[in-house]
Symmetry: C2
Subunit: 284 residues, 2 copies
Amino acid sequence: MQFEKITIIGLGLIGGSLARALKESGQIGTVSGVDTDRDTIDYALRNKIIDEGFTESGEAIQGAEIIVIATHVGAIKETTEEIIPDAAEGSVITDVGSVKGKIVSEIESILPPRLSFVGGHPIAGTENSGVGASDPALFRGKRFIITPTENTDPAARDKVESLWKLTGSQIFELDAESHDRIFGLVSHLPHVVAYSLIDAIISEDDSDTLLSFAGSGLRDYTRVAASSPAMWTDIFKANKDEVLRAIGKYKASLDKIEYLLEREEWEPLLDLLSKSTEAKRNKG
Amino acid sequence: MQFEKITIIGLGLIGGSLARALKESGQIGTVSGVDTDRDTIDYALRNKIIDEGFTESGEAIQGAEIIVIATHVGAIKETTEEIIPDAAEGSVITDVGSVKGKIVSEIESILPPRLSFVGGHPIAGTENSGVGASDPALFRGKRFIITPTENTDPAARDKVESLWKLTGSQIFELDAESHDRIFGLVSHLPHVVAYSLIDAIISEDDSDTLLSFAGSGLRDYTRVAASSPAMWTDIFKANKDEVLRAIGKYKASLDKIEYLLEREEWEPLLDLLSKSTEAKRNKG
């Protein structure tokens, strides 16, 4: 038994999948789950995704060695503020948010010395959401990014690493700023790009006709743009500066292609497209 | 037997799949194939994809009721010029190009009165290419866009429709200009957008690290950008005006998101993202 008790707050796709993976590992005494939605708790108990369930965190976090905040990015700080009074001395708090810089520094500024916080971000997910879509294998072979700071207690960091290793994740350490720059470019920017493309299409008068031809290249984008708009608004908000920086870089590349097309510079255009193709062949 | 002889010039993914679908229909006396690559012809003969094969079009088009030009967009006009002297009176020429306006008007301007041309575009394809990836079911249930003009002989149009019905395609008529505007928006623009995104990522100093996180949203784009750069340069060239117009519309949508993000107008941003999500739910 590696941990006596772990509490997960927020039983969505990520929280539910983490609970399932931890239960399957057989290394946790009690997996306690918290969700404000009673039906979610009932579902999770009925399907043995958690050992005990609550709609409020007070009792759930008693004696928990690690408290995992698996809410949407926009609710992480508030949830942490709520649990601080009830959290026992030595408890480690961690999160699963897609943005780290702002969240980690805000939480460090409100955390009392008897508690530790370690930022985390499992690189896994699907376009589905909710506990009904949870999967114990979701994190297997995927990266878990851990973002300790100079204030992070090394023992707390190691506990969070041990927990996620139980899910089959590969642990990957980054500082919070690098994390936000990287994910601003490889995850948040692609979502901005997809939302912009769909917005351009649906702004046309004959958008129904256009969407009926989605199979011709648009389908992948409509899938990306089908992710939860509330979740993505929260992410863009929390990582505003890096997302704006990424958009700026993207616009420079788009302008380059537009310029070559306008000037009919076909050889340099072919060259630019060929380099992008190689990126996929080598790394994709 | 619906047609005595059909000749397909260019045995790539589309030409090869068409040959296979026509052979399977049992409605064609002879499926004749032309490809400048000897190995492609040998492969097609060995796998009974065609009944007879040639590396030059002269003999292949003798007696063909329909000649399908299935080369890259950039080679359609030149190929048509080459076959005109040898094509028999009454032959119908058609193509499978992803761009129609420029191609159709150029071909109509060089076509002698004894021949007919009908523009066509099967909406099917994969990121794979070549006769080895051909599939007789590729067009089944997919749209085949036919783009007759006021100069098109109605009998020639109907012959091309009958041919493609044998593949299981649904026939959909558009004028060439509407076709190019629609595909400029739903197919060519998404490729510009993907190539721009990959270009932005690989222009960063740590592009290898960034690409190692491609799973976080970038993967769909790297797949789109993996399509043949030569083919896409040809398409952008042939549909330059509509692609530029589509880029203009796209930039307006991107600017809208950037503006809302800069001004921290979260409610209007959520509203914009929500509308894009609905487009997928309703039509995707």
